[in-house]
């Protein structure tokens, strides 16, 4: 299947789901008689989305080049990207309980490692130094509060 068709199918599904939800939006009191309700634009958008997605699906795409979705997605560094996505999600999970300092150091160190850097003597100092500089700039220069997390005891001292 071509890239256009896969994209169109995804968008068609999204538009149909969006339209179904728009049809179930509650009416605001007193709005029933007026020309426009909170659901008016979403329903129109859903119709536009469905029509355009169908057009993208049925009309021929650009000629030339390999438009196959398999050829496009093959041979890419998906494993590395997967690890980076996990790392970013982990950062979101860790930033409050572990605090800015520890989670950022781990995030940067993990990122360097995933990207192929093997030397710990580079990974550790750079990730710690960048975190310290950033933490200092935010908390001391810009007076932004950052969660200390597990390092809370340092703050109380």
């Amino acid at each position: 299947m071509t890239k256009n068709r896969v994209g169109a199918l995804v968008m068609l599904t999204l538009s149909i789901a969006y339209g179904a939800m728009a049809l179930n939006l509650p009416q605001a009191p007193g709005m029933e008689a007026s020309g426009v309700t909170p659901a008016s634009l979403p329903i129109a958008l859903s119709v536009f989305g469905i029509v355009i997605a169908v057009l993208v699906f049925i009309l021929p795409g650009r000629s030339g080049g390999d438009d196959s979705v398999i050829a496009t997605f093959k041979g890419l560094r998906w494993r590395r990207i997967g690890y980076l996505f996990l790392l970013m999600t982990g950062y979101g999970l860790a930033i409050k309980p572990f605090g800015f300092f520890m989670s950022t150091t781990l995030f940067l160190g993990g990122g360097f490692r995933i990207m192929g850097e093997r030397r710990l003597k580079m990974i550790l100092p750079i990730s710690i130094a960048v975190t310290v500089v950033f933490w200092f700039a935010l908390t001391r220069l810009l007076s932004v509060y950052l969660e200390p997390g597990v390092l809370r005891f340092l703050e109380s001292n």
């Binding site: 538009s15 020309g35 989305g49 993208v56 650009r62 970013m88 999600t89 990207m115």
Partner: protein
Amino acid sequence: MLEGLLTGLATALTPINIVMVCVGVFAGTFIGMLPGLGPISAIALMIPITYSFEPASGLILMAGVYYGAVFGGSTSSILINAPGIAGTVATAFDGYPLAQAGKAGKALAIAAYSSFAGGTIGAVLLLVAAPALAAVSLSFQSAEYFALMVMGLTAVSAFAGKGQFLKGMLMTVLGVMLSTVGMDNSTGIQRFTFGQLDLVEGLSFLLLAMATFALSEALMTTLKPDETSDSAEAPGQIDFGSLKVSKAELREIAPSVGRSSVLGFFIGVLPGAGATIASFLAYACEQALAKGHARRQFGKGSLRGLAAPETANNAASTGSFVPLLTLGIPGSGTTAVMLGALISYGIQPGPRLFVEHPEVFWSVIVSMYLGNVMLLILNLPLIPYIARLLAMPKPFLIPFILFFSLIGVYLVSFNNFDIYLMVGFAGFALVFRLLDFPMAPMLLGFVLGGLLEENLRRALLISDGELSFLWTRPITLTILIITVIVLLLPLVRSGRNL
């Protein structure tokens, strides 16, 4: 106008704003040089920083970043044949052959002088055009605004490129859909929030811009192993040669610069056209005008071939501020990001901006020019050093970009949910980029979506729920006719390949 200009000068020339221009131009050049990162990402990365500034300072910083990023993109086009953005692809046609011939310094100098000239002429035209258009658009009402929004949204798709029109439209619709998430301001009804309290306020513009541009562009660079894997280290090792340009060479490029400036500016004013079309048109125009040996030089290191697209893309960047400042309609993804930032400052661009916040309006116009001056006097001599910064290995660069994107959004809300949303949108954007669907129309749709609905509601309310306002008001009708023409353009241009 003179009074406004003086107001703008007084605001733009304060020490803090001069620093903003310098920092913006420098940071923009650096980010713009990174393969894969363009002005939208550069500006998006700056937005969290600008939240603590006055609106004028924030906008001045972003304008500097914009210019810097466009110039930075040209630099990577010339040095390593890797245009950071579509607007500088034409620069590589003759810039890269010049660099290969050992004239990288000369090519960069010509690019800088041309950008400066294009920006200067563009700024003068902006100075004349923006207040005039703002004065006219003061008479606009909701119906006209609704029509303008529709035109802005369709024009971006129409100029999206061959085979991209329908996909651009689809992404625009998706952007408007995303803008409907959250509480409806008129009725207080929650739409598409899935019962999540975090979504009641709607999606954050910054989050969406960061996820779909900065994050996904950085991830895209990581995903593709061959294209730019080692090139980021290359500029630091290039022999730049002399930066000097002779008088004869300046005389050779002068007419091209003049023509391309005017052409670039007017194309930039058109919503959706922007720097890419301007640079290609200027290149094609100069090639068509050249004769004999000069013509044969195109593609092999022609100075005119380098100067024309460089001039045009900078003039177009300036021109794209006209619809933004006067009508509140962003003409490109970049200006859409700026519009989003302005709205988050509590400022609504449009004709009222000219009346209510003259210091913002005029200081942006003045800072456009300052940005160009800084680009010339600060960036050009520093280019060899900035290029060396790019020798930073990718294993370090990518995690930094991811970190700055995530923390930039997190520091605005201090909500983990925003990080998860960003990761989700970045994944979506990554897949859709691979499927060759444009992202800029989505962002534009998101920024304009709220305004579109608001103006449609107001117009319907005034006309007692009748859609007749679309054809009974002459200006609305004219704008809608232009919209239809813009919609039909791709049909004429590319036949069945929509």
